[in-house]
Structures are given as C-alpha cells and as structure tokens.
Amino acid sequence: MADGGQDLRAWDRAQLLALFDPATGALDRRVLSDEALYQLELERIFARGWNFMCHDSQIPEPGDYFISYIGEDQVIVVRDEEGGVNVLLNTCRHRGNALCRAEQGRAKSFVCSYHGWNYALDGRLIGVPGLKTFYHNDIDRSRLGLARARAENYLGFWFATLATDAPALRDYLGDVGRTGLGMICANGEVEVVDGVQKNVISCNWKIAVDNLFDWYHVPYSHASANTAGFLDIAAIQHPQSQMVMLGEYGHAIGGPGIPRERQDQIDAMSDEERAAASRAAPPNSPRIRPRAARDLMGPVGVRSEGHPNIFPNLWITLGGLQMCLRLPRGPSKTELWWFTFVPKGAPPALRRAMIAQANHVFGPAGILEQDDGENWSQSTRSARGFSSRGLGQYIGMGLGHDQAVAGEDGEHYIESAVGEHGQRWLYRAWTEWMAARDWTELKANHTPPPTGPV
C-alpha cells in the first residue's frame, strides 16, 4: 500500500533529479513519504552501495555469524574455516525460509528448519534430504547455493554490496570514507564492545542521516542536556569553527574542525606531549590524536572533530567511539543500531569511561539521543499531509557564502560557520544515485566534489 495515500507510480530520471535543487536547497518532501521512491531506494541505494555489516572482532572464529541488513535484505555475515568472511542472503533457495533466526551465534553449517536443506558456511548447498528418493538425483545443487553479496573490509570493518559492478570498497570509500573509519582507529587498533543497541523510530532514514551533519540543532534539541548539567554544549559545538569534507558518491563529514594553526602546533608535538596535553584539557574535550592518526585520516581529515557519514547510512560519532547504522524499514520507519569500539587492550579505567560515555550519550535512553527521535518522526509525519508535503524542506543555510578548497591530498573541504553543506551534498548524491540505472551510469553522471564557491 502506498504510504500517505500516494499512487505507486514510476519516477523517471528527470523527476528524480528534480527532487532536490542544489541551487536553492529545496527538497521535495515526497522523498520522505513516497512508497515507490522507497522501493527504488532499496534497489538503487542500498543494494548498489557498500553497506556496513560488522567488525572483525564480532566474528573472530570460524562459524561465528552476525545477522545484518542490506536495506531490507537480511544477510548472514559469517566467517568460514579459511578465515574469510561471507555475506549470504538469509533466505533458503527452496521456499525462502530464514536459515538463521538468532541475531548472532556460531554454526558448523546452516540447516534450514523447514525441510532440512543444508548449506556450507560459504553458502554452497551441501545437503538435500531425499535427494535420491524424492528428487531422483535430478537437481542442480550448484545453482541452488545461498545468494552471496560481495564482501570486503577496510581496517577490519566489513561491508557488503549486491552490485557486481560496484567499485572496490577502498575506492568507494574514497578519502572521506577512509577518514571516517580511520577516526575510529586513530588511537590504535579497536575491538567491539559486546552489545549492539537497537531501536526503531517512526522516521524516514534520510532525516536521521541529515541530522548527523546538523550542528545547528544541538543547542535547541539538546538544551535539556545542558540545563541538566550533563554537558556544556558551548564547549562542544564550536559554531564558528566548522569543517565540512565532501567525498565522491555522497560521503561527507560535518562538524567542528581544528583550525589549521592549531593543527600545525599539534603536528609539532610528540605522542607523549599530546597525551599530556589531553590529560590537562578540560573534561569532555576531544583527545589529541597521536601522530599515526594523520596516516589514517589524511592531513585535512585529521583536523575533523565532526561526524562522518559513509553513504548511505553509516554515522561515525563521539570522536570515533561509536557507529550508528540507520536501517530503512519503510518510508516512515528506521531502525537504529549502535556499535561501540574501544582500543584493543585498553586499560580497564579507560575502557569503563568510554563505555559509560557511549551508554549515557546515545542509544534510545541516551541523554542526548532521547530528544532527537521525536523531532525526526514529527518531521517525517508532516510529509504525509497533502499540503504540508507540498511545502518542501528548506536546506539553504550558508548557500553561496562559502568556498570549497582542495587539500594537498585532493580532499575537498569547506571551513565556515555552522551551515548545511553536508546535507545538500547528501541529497544531491541521493538524487544522482536514484537517477542512475547502474554503476556505469552513476560513475558517468555524478557531481564530483566541488572547488570554489558553494
């Protein structure tokens, strides 16, 4: 059934591109409510892009699996006997039953609970009850293995795509995506903390992604966290010192940036001096990253204290402590999954402090996160009213007032006050992904990160 009473109709290329106008910042609110657009997103955004699955440390041993999603396609992420990672659609090739019902676990093989077909950890169909008696040996098992997604990892973070023509993960991530994952590992190799918080919000997934670039909402949405003495918003927002990095295919980072002069001072410091300065800094200030961070994040990226988003739906937050995946569940429903990382072998006190911060700030009971969901669901809800929908979203902040510059390693970034460059980049990329029928078209017809007035 169409959401909001709209007709299920096909969208052509010109109509898709017209849904967002980067010259004015006008976004058509049907992107938040239309069922046909949503179905097209599952195909052209989620099945086509590289989707975050899980971290190496969640499935360390052969047979360890974790259930994740590519859009609404449920997948099994499993380590095989050779140590490789397979991403398999969790649907039996016989009648479609789910092979795994648990959200994590360990398996020797996957036996279907319906009629007992048995699949190896790499998805091969290795057992069919009644193969001789009922099937008369007349079945091509080689064609009935579990459907596989392409799986690749960067720094131990596993991603998967259902597009055979997608670029390699490293190229897909580009400098911005690599900076984002590098932010998590900037203080050394990490491991996941046990437990993925999951909850569901009645909002379109893009509203949640839009919000991660939004440093404008912080003093208003989260005023009560400030009043309650939980944190000092003025000390974290840095409204005049923002840096937005724009990457190919829609990746972006937005939020506070370390001014270049300050970074020059940091670059001259040894790791010991950085650690000492971090200890002397006021509580809640970001730790000064060690020298090695520059290799992981690049000379521009290392200056970011902001929020990366790996297109389409992977937010990296709290200086790389957490990731939040926004999984689409219909035009007006999104599931949020929170992953938390600490340095491998972190001293117990540091580990405790990091986990406490993650538990207290984000997740459905988080002192900050509590207040976001209702704003997102009400913003989504208004896209269902006939006239409210017609008004459009206004994403025009800073438009035409700032300059994008190219960094020494080819990064594209904007230094300015709080603005909406990240959001415009997101929606612009979204229209281009939606309009392209395959990777060849997307590669040929996407806007490269800009230089000059933006």
């Binding site: 019902r101 648990a102 959200e103 994590q104 676990g105 360990r106 903390v193 046990d194 437990g195 993925v196 918080q197 999951k198 909850n199 569901v200 919000i201 009645s202 949405s221 005023a223 009560s224 966290a225 009043t227 309650a228 003495g229 939980f230 599931e335 929170w338 938390t340 405790r352 986990i355 406490a356 993650a358 538990n359 207290h360 997740g363 459905p364 009971a365 002192i367 996160e369 509590q370 207040d371 969901g373 209702e374 704003n375 669901s377």
Partner: protein, 180 residues
C-alpha cells in the same frame, strides 16, 4: 488474649508482613513515577544505587548465556545516582522535548517475590509493565523482569539496585526517556 502462635504460624506471619512492606514500597515508588514526582522518587534511592538494563538478544538455546549483555559491556541503562539525578534535572528542564508535553505513564509491578534477605538488604524479583503514551497516539509497552535490592534504613526502604531485563530485543520505541 490472643492464642500463642505456633512456630510455623510465626514464620509465616513474618513473611507476610515483609511481603506487605516490600510491595507497599514498590507501589508507592511506582505511584511517584506515574505522578511525575521525580524529586521525591530520588529521595527513595540509596546513594550507591545501580540502575541497569542490559541489551537482550535473540540467540539459540545453545548460546543462551549470551542472551543478555554482561555488566560492564553495552547496556540501555547503566546509571549511578549522579546520572539518575541528571535524568531528573533533564525531565524538569522544560526543554526535554521527548517528555514535554509529558508522557502519560503507568507502572505496574506484579509477581513480587522475595529472593533473599541478607542483613539489612532484601533482594526482590518482580515482573514489570511500563505503559506509556505520548502525544496523540504513540504507545509504548515495556514488559520484563526486574531484580531490585531494597535496603532497610531508619527512614524506611531505600532502593540500592534495580536491574531490568526487558522482553524486547529491537526496542520498539523512539526513545526510553521514562524512568522504569
């Protein structure tokens, strides 16, 4: 003059009295939360309270010891008194948008069983049902098992521990801005 109680009757009457005291405390505490009397609710907490809700997962029977996350790992709540005071100040701030306009909540406590008495501490297991409605038509219904520790003081019981085991894996709510 009342007839002498047998030993068995005496034991039973002590247990009934304690059960009554414990239940009345839990009901009064629930009533304070439903009436949004958060300051008065804070008054019922011990200074060393641990308020915790681990993450629950769908796992196979073979893996059932991993159903809940362990102490020290990720959780929905892992609060000490300081953080619960933050939550209350936030609720009172007038800008906690997820609770202003305020939610309507009803805390049900049932199946109350005293598990252990150790000195001045009583461990109590109960089932909870927290029903919350918000705005026009949002409904949250949280059910689970709860293990509380009540500590006897001169001023009455104080809540020293509340561990909440929710019967949901993907939390079916926009937020958990209510106190359980």
């Amino acid at each position: 003059m009342a007839p002498d109680l047998t030993t068995r009757e005496k034991l039973l009457s002590d247990r009934v009295l304690l059960q009554y005291e414990v239940e009345q405390f839990l009901y009064a505490e629930a009533a304070l939360l439903d009436a949004r009397q958060y300051r008065r609710w804070l008054g019922l907490l011990a200074d060393d309270i641990h308020y915790w809700m681990p993450i629950r997962r769908t796992v196979t029977l073979a893996d059932i010891d991993r159903e809940f996350t362990k102490l020290g790992d990720m959780a929905y709540f892992d609060d000490d008194r300081t953080l619960l005071e933050v939550r209350v100040r936030k609720l009172e701030a007038g800008s906690a948008w997820s609770e202003d306009p305020p939610s309507r909540s009803r805390h049900f406590v049932s199946n109350v069983r005293i598990l252990e008495i150790a000195g001045d501490e009583i461990t109590v297991e109960a089932c909870f049902h927290l029903y919350r409605t918000r705005l026009e038509a949002d409904i949250d219904s949280w059910v689970g098992r709860r293990v509380d520790t009540l500590r006897r003081t001169d001023a009455g019981f104080r809540l020293a521990k509340r561990h909440l085991f929710l019967d949901q894996t993907v939390v079916q709510s926009t937020n958990m801005s209510t106190i359980f």
